[in-house]
Amino acid sequence: MKLRIEKEELQKALQNIQGVVDKKTTMPILSHFMLKADKAAFIMATDLEIALKGPITAEIIEKGSLCIPARKLFEIVKEVEGGILLESQENNWLRISAGKSTFKLMGLPEEEYPALPEIGKTEELNIDAGLLRNMIEKTVYATGDSDTRYTLNGLLLHLIPAKKTTELKLVGTDGHRLAIISSKLASPLSSEMKLILPKKGAMELKRILETSSGTITVHLEKNHIFFTIGDIVLTSRLIEGNYPNYDQVIPKDNEKQVIIDKVTCLKALRRTSIMSREKTNAVRFDVEQGKITLISINPDIGEAREEIAAQYKGESISIGYNARYLMDAIQAMDGETIRFEIQEPLSPTLLVEAAGEGAMCVIMPMRV
């Protein structure tokens, strides 16, 4: 393998993959990335959870491939100028020449690198980058984090085919709260699918989508999901197992409906939760006609109370929540007002954007 690449091009590409290479320590070759030169050149890196593959503009003098230590090459490229010649040698050595300096790095052969599946004949969907990013933002906060019920450590992608469209629902839950959002996609799908995208994959996807626009393509394979964003492909492994039945959890006929101004509520929550006990952040909502009193009591420290206006015409009810969960949910919602749909002090509460049919969040109340 022999190619010539410009410093800026190589530096940018290596920068992009640093996040992917560093993490895992269980498989040492993962600290390397793969450089492959065929008709075009591309680099690939994986940490066994996600993988990034992107093209790299280069003059290909000789085809080939090699696994190269990512960190070291990155450091080298940073310090040199101009065009860089990369040349593989015997026993997997890599010779790097730039200007008057030469370096030699020990590499590893391609066969030793984890073999990612190719996007072959798989189901394909198209979705707008901005839409997908938005959907992830509104749900990923509610997923589990290192939960021993590992299926909760990711986002559920529930794809339900209709005649010519597909409904995509994203769900995230940790057992105490559940966030869900739904959209219609123009692409058709052959059959219903449920995939669990690991949290890390979702976060990386969100990061990349932040600087992208237009339509992206999603390919669904039995063990992986591929996101083609521009000329970059982000692959994520899927989590094995059955996701909980989220529909069961969503309360359908909560009678008591309270409408509150989003910003006001958020600020009040921030203030009152100062007094709540660290772990639970418990806050009590005393809901009455026209107003809600937020109360938090910590016998060791003190207490806080705040009254906010609310549109409500029903029986008074007292209900306890984890303030943190409420704030997460409220922040993820668009619009100016939020609707709380409540039933009992110990039955799940539903938070909805009062304006549209956007994101929803189910929150389990607490005993206070």
Partner: protein
Amino acid sequence: MAFKDIIGQENALNILKGLIAKGRVPHALLFAGEEGIGKKLAAINFAKALNCRGKVKGIDSCGACPSCVKINKLLKPETLITAGEGDDNLKEKIYMSHPDTALILPYKNEIRIKIIRTLEEHLSYKPFEGNYKIAIIDNSDEMNNETSNAFLSTLEAPAAKSIIILVSSKPGILLPTIRSRCQQVFFSPLPLKKMEELLREKVKGLDDEKLFLLSAVSGGRIGYAITEGLIEKRDSLLEKFLLMTGNPGKEIWEEREEMEEWFEWCQLWLRDIAVLKASGGTGLLINRDKREEMEGLASGASLKNIIELSEGLNKIKRVLDRNLNIAITVNHTSMLMRKMLGRQNVRDN
């Protein structure tokens, strides 16, 4: 390197091949049997067969496809840089040369909970490039109590397409709750005839008596049988055995390890002497090339004494790890031997 290259172990390999052929590979297996007879080797080849991408038909792995090439590296784990170096929290070694196949070895005879958590994470995904996600835990009996209990629910019902292989030479030590969740596959020591065949090939210049000696002494363990200098070791330790009946100096053993080994080997000679006395003939002797010395010792001691000596030496061996004073140990041992064997073949220093 594949199943067909493993010597002996017909029963075990047939069982494993049958599981693959019938598509009934259980999610948890326990490979049990003596040390050094090929359990780990079988586990690695089993993993290869399960994840092989190069075979056209048949059960055994092809050995050449990228999957087999990667898993093969587990045969020589020391050539892999492992997790553990530079990572203080993970001293137990996890070797992964294939994204779906992990080999776990204990650290300082212990396997702690952290490893199980890492393993569970590894298993919670769908396979990366193989058919199954496989974890092989060698010397699994070294899981401490905490780790064993934490492992139970994963071992009972891991995520789909996971296979956990516990390897152990002391399955009795594993918790019954662990064994209960695994299908046990028994590995046996190599039969004598096969061992002799193997040694004839691998080790040159052995006469029949020495060949027999190595085969018998190895107890069917290939790794042990081809250890360098095994016969020389026998010779040297036997010499020291004979010296013990005289007036040995306290320098008789060069190092601790040698002392421990000496006590192990004593049982062999005592057994030979006892057998000579009891059966009245040399047919059952193992140290055939040292017939004379054995007969000499046998003539002067009673069967009762030999058995008592065996137990006495065993008692001493059991307390060896309590930092005994070497001189006292030597004296005590020597005294015991003189008492039981009489002062035959006295070889004074």
